[in-house]
Symmetry: C3
Subunit: 338 residues, 3 copies
């Protein structure tokens, strides 16, 4: 894609300072740019690269004060991060225009496929599955019986979706993710054997959800495991049977959520955190990375530690933990005197 500076300025609602005819054809970090690169300055830590950058055009904040005159072209905007995100979107969406059903796929005759769908090689669609308009199903994907995929959803290579799962519109699911595998439930019999609890429920993923690579989302025992609108899940996350995740909640990589727990909306769950089973996390809760949440948590709180407690309390206690050797030296003096 080739754009002139004035065209970029129109897209991001900015003002060109310099040559508005200069051509850009790629995006680059400010420190890596070259002729033809379009970069941005979103964090003052990177101001030092402004004069040395070889990028042809740099998007900067309206408020930025220059230490020295620059010969390169700038575009001034209200929010350089937001502006650049728009451009990333524009440059990135060019190769998603795939259409057509690959002949080397296996599609049951009962399957319903919408308009302008792409379905890649070696993908499988079992009985009664449905794919909505404009959705892109890459190669080597498995859709089990009665799976429903909404409109304009992208499913990357090697995703497996078990029977009866429902995926909404405008979703993105990355490679290797498994949706609808059996929940982990067993009853111990008298002989010490674990008897399987069969799972008859399903998974429902609502609209605008993105799920990273190699995640696992188990089906419910009965009813549905539910991921609500706008939820964003990073890679290698485990969501157990009958879990419910509220709107726009963001979950970082390697998190595990145990069975039947619910998480409210607009929460942020840090990487490698764990949530116990059968508990309720409120709205706008923040769980720090690696924390282990073992009890229900009210809305608007931040927690840390294992078991997780109030974030500030944890940090105060941890400061003392680090000082324990010093404290004990003083204390041992006291004990001796006693």
């Amino acid at each position: 894609m080739n754009l002139k500076a004035y065209q970029v300025a129109e897209i991001v609602s900015g003002n060109v300072v310099g040559d508005d005819q200069v051509l850009v054809n790629s995006l680059a970090k400010i420190e890596n740019g070259d002729e033809g690169s379009l970069s941005f300055l979103g964090n003052s830590k990177y101001n030092k690269f402004l004069s040395s950058s070889k990028s042809s055009v740099i998007i900067v904040n309206n408020d930025l004060v220059l230490d020295q005159p620059l010969t390169k072209t700038l575009i001034r905007v209200n929010d350089p991060n937001e502006a650049f995100s728009k451009l990333l979107d524009l440059f990135g969406n060019q190769n998603l225009n795939r259409r057509g059903i690959d002949k080397l796929s296996s599609i049951d005759s009962s399957v319903s496929i919408g308009k302008d769908v792409y379905l890649g090689a070696f993908s499988v669609c079992e009985k009664d599955s449905v794919i909505g308009d404009d959705s892109k199903i890459y190669s080597q994907v498995f859709l089990g019986e009665n799976v429903s995929i909404g409109k304009n959803t992208v499913i990357y290579p090697g995703v497996r979706i078990y029977n009866n799962s429902v995926i909404g519109n405008n979703c993105i699911i990355h490679s290797g993710t498994v949706i609808g595998s059996d929940g982990f439930g067993f009853n111990l019999d008298k002989n010490g054997n674990q008897l399987k609890v069969v799972h008859n429920g399903n998974v429902i993923i609502e609209d605008n959800v993105e799920i990273g690579a190699n995640c696992t989302i188990d089906k419910a025992t009965l009813g549905s495991t539910l991921v609500k609108k706008g939820v964003k899940i990073d890679n290698l996350v485990q969501v157990a049977h009958n879990v419910e995740i509220g709107e726009n909640t963001v979950i970082a990589a390697c998190v595990g959520i145990a069975g039947s727990s619910s998480i409210g909306k607009n929460c942020m769950i840090g990487g490698q955190a764990g949530i116990s089973g059968h508990i309720k996390i409120g709205d706008r809760v923040m769980v720090q990375a690696q924390s282990g949440v073992m009890r229900s948590i009210p809305s608007d709180t931040t927690v840390m530690g294992m078991p997780a407690i109030n974030y500030l309390d944890y940090n105060k206690s941890y400061v003392h933990f680090k000082n324990l050797p010093k404290i004990m030296n003083k204390l041992n003096d006291l004990f001796k005197k006693k």
Copy 2:
């Protein structure tokens, strides 16, 4: 499936109270049920739903005392959880009656396939692999050279089993799981390079084992990585080379077990726990979630923390940890007086 109340009662060895001709066609949670639903009451927390539930039939405990007369049909049993688990099994196993070898698969001529086997599209069976009677191998599965699958085992889409692995009878392996990948072993040479230790062993999974989605079980350097009878493993679990896991042990999601460690029988390993390499965990050991076990542990103990110590000791210490700011306030008074 349609069943009348008296037929359900026969299956679960219970007694009908009410209309024994009422028809049910699906299972539902007591709070979600509708006409035609069969529900159960297994936990007194849910007693409140008994009068409002719209389910046609509810399985309850023999001991349950009703606050008010009910018009709906009940079935009284000794153990509602066990009874319902039987019904989940019955309702859930209906779509596993797959048979036949999909033409769009790649099977070496030396492969041995038993009676009533299902093998789905785009699956690969390499030289000398064996599939026992009644086993169901879904689509997009990879069986390497000399892999052996027992009888009545279910392998879900996208499972990869490297050469020489042995899987027992009545096993279930969920999508994306990798069995028999190389163990993680390197020798540092004089130039700081890591030289690979080639792994010539294999993985043996005994009978009645269930393994969740996206797990990884590495082959042994020599000999076998061994998962014994009745072991149940949740999603995203890592089992390193030469590990041995004893009968009926249950391992929750996101656990990591390092190389050459052994775990006894009937253990329970909590989610995200880690087990160091070259240690021995006894029988009936419980490891709390997120704990890090760095030393061998005798049988019949429960541990927590990182490094893991006795469970009760950890909790006592953690209470004091949480109080450290208060304790330090008092202590600083003492230190000043000194």
Copy 3:
């Protein structure tokens, strides 16, 4: 493979003590060996098996002093571990001599394939991808557009490599690993919705890198996520967008590395450890298992805990943590007296 003892001695530069014509055909642990087995004694803990072992030939240290005369054949070497690693390599590499392109694959006409390449069934190579000489791409692999695979690299079944990724020479990537999925980045809009940051960068894996099963390595927002020469990564590891990992660093299973962090060379990251985003880890740093590194760390340090601190300091504090109940008993006496 059949070798006589004198041939083995030549390979490992050792001296035969006993019958140099005895035949071996397999490798085995010293305690499991049988007639025809070749074993080694690399750790004095296993000396007790020396007399009872049924292995035909055992590799031992030059310095080993025998308690009693042995009738079996020994080969004495400087370093039995190194010697055995050579033999594991020799015995293990026999079935990697695959060649040829499976007809049941999907290869775009623009793809460039080197000499003596193997490409298995149901693999996909999209537009402009390149596979170097002697590389082995197993079944069910996905190579997106413009993916480059070097020479003599092995990609196991079910690996997914997104567009524009670059993989070096002599690499090994195990099943289920995903390379080049989108980084996890969103901008919150005024309505509380998370807007996706499109990722236009790629992943570069340099030469001699091994990556375990079911890992995830995200592409950069701009520029490259970079895994340098000789890095070894175990199973289920998450590497986020724009991360850089230095030469010969070793990363154990279940580790998570957040976005834009860099790790130096020759580091060792323990299992289930987590590294926060936007920090810099020096060279030769050791991170203990399950630690959470939240700040940059200078070279040549070892850290532990969450948040991670100096390893020895953590352990000293943890000793006191375990003693807190005892310490508090003493302290409460003091408080009462006050």
